[in-house]
Symmetry: C2
Subunit: 244 residues, 2 copies
DNA sequence: ACTATAAACCTGTATATACAGCTTGTCATC
DNA sequence: GATGACAAGCTGTATATACAGGTTTATAGT
């Protein structure tokens, strides 16, 4: 306790007023000048407190007008989709990959549409079966832009995850996901060693780098063997940071 | 273009060096002093640029030591779980709710465990069937802490979503999710008008407010009628803001 | 009553300065 | 050679000040 930086004390105070309902949604939050007055801090310190709360989504600042309590109802909660290799490692499971395909392909019309490019563009296709403690849990069907990730054909997919490689090649700008529950196709069922029609969690993901679609992946998880989970903590209001 | 604020120009420059691979993971990023030198800006401006990139997850700053390129490989991508009422409204669908149950209950041992409280604690139970254009798509089974959300029993659940109400009552601190693909139970199948055993997307969610579990919900989506999707844009690097 | 102008207020950005505290490498001493 | 003191370099925080530009409210003039 004690000796928290001033800007945090200010943040904390405003946060408490929001939590307690003293500042309802869309209410006007104290202006920088009012904070300067009330707390005896400089305007830059007040500015920092309000800006950080704004960036955390609790306030909305409108230049010229004022600072207001954000409407957080429509924001939606976030779930982290993690790299399966990392996830399994953290939980103490063995992770292994069978590379069922890893080859150059030329974009069909359908593929080109997903990549927002012309048919015939060079792509790399990979089909991977991920095993947890030997048991198949995930079928990963992935197409990667050869232009954006030229080395993808050469990497050892049993050792480097596609995700890690793509992150290394370029900063990921945008991700689009679709999550569905689907019955296993005949092919997926055979590979995941489950019954045809058994519920599977299917994630379709497109990622962008440098303004272009870098990768399109379909991840089919065996529903009876896998669940995605995650915890999202607000923004570490109030409490101490985690251990290093 | 033109006349971007200085701190953004600095951010942009560093970002480009990261994207191009000029600054690999764990490499030392320019210090504030070096930026002052190179760009002719003040240290506070350099500080702002580096701090924002750090908050966006691209850099890691260690007091006393320096600023380094973050390892973004393990970070995981985020998917937004949105309020179904908002989501359907945005897509132009009609949204309706049947309230199948809305009652006070006393926590069983099992419920108490989920709420991390004692058995016998007062809860409110709601069972809601959400319809999209008349067709059932989601069965929401929710328990809410009566202590944290005293008015929950009295609200009109056909008009105010549980989520919106809980957000109004208190700031949401933490959310825990589990997403699975499961065969529909007999009960869920009957209510969602689907076949028993049909794939369903099941989201189990616990939310915390004021340090306590505020709500535990099980959301069962009809797999053949619903998918979750979302786009996460990096942090609006490079490009202009969206329209108001 | 209506309108145009001005004043008051607000946030956004930028600078110069200062001190605290941590980390790392160097150098002198034992 | 090991150790401890010191200096250099880095980030974190805080202040005072300044100007630009948008918004809102009040005011004066028509």
């Amino acid at each position: 306790m004690s000796a928290q930086p001033l800007y945090r004390q200010v943040k904390q105070h405003i946060l408490e007023r929001i939590e307690s309902g003293g500042l309802p949604i869309n209410a006007r939050a104290p202006s920088e000048a009012e904070i300067v007055e009330a707390f005896g801090v400089s305007r830059m310190t007040a500015n920092r407190a309000l800006n950080e709360l704004a960036k955390e989504g609790l306030l909305v600042r409108i230049a010229g007008s004022g600072t207001f309590v954000a409407d957080r109802r429509a924001r939606g909660e976030l779930v982290a989709l993690r790299d399966i290799a990392v996830e399994l490692a953290e939980r103490g499971h063995a992770h292994a990959v069978d590379v069922l395909a890893h080859e150059k392909v030329v974009a069909s019309r359908e593929m080109a549409a997903a990549f927002e490019t012309r048919a015939g563009a060079p792509l790399v296709h990979a089909l991977l079966l991920h095993r947890r403690d030997g048991e198949p849990v995930l079928l990963e069907d992935r197409l990667v832009s050869a232009a954006l990730a030229p080395g993808y054909l050469d990497i050892d997919l049993t050792r480097v995850s596609s995700y890690a490689y793509l992150m290394e090649v370029a900063v990921l700008q945008k991700v689009e996901h679709t999550i569905r529950a689907e019955p296993a196709s005949a092919d997926a069922a055979r590979r995941l060693k489950t019954a045809k029609g058994a519920p599977c969690l299917v994630v379709r993901r497109r990622t962008w780098s440098r303004g272009e679609v870098a990768s399109v992946a379909t991840l089919t998880y065996a529903g009876d063997r896998y669940e995605m989970s995650g915890v999202i903590a607000g923004e570490d209001h109030s409490s101490r940071r985690a251990h290093a």
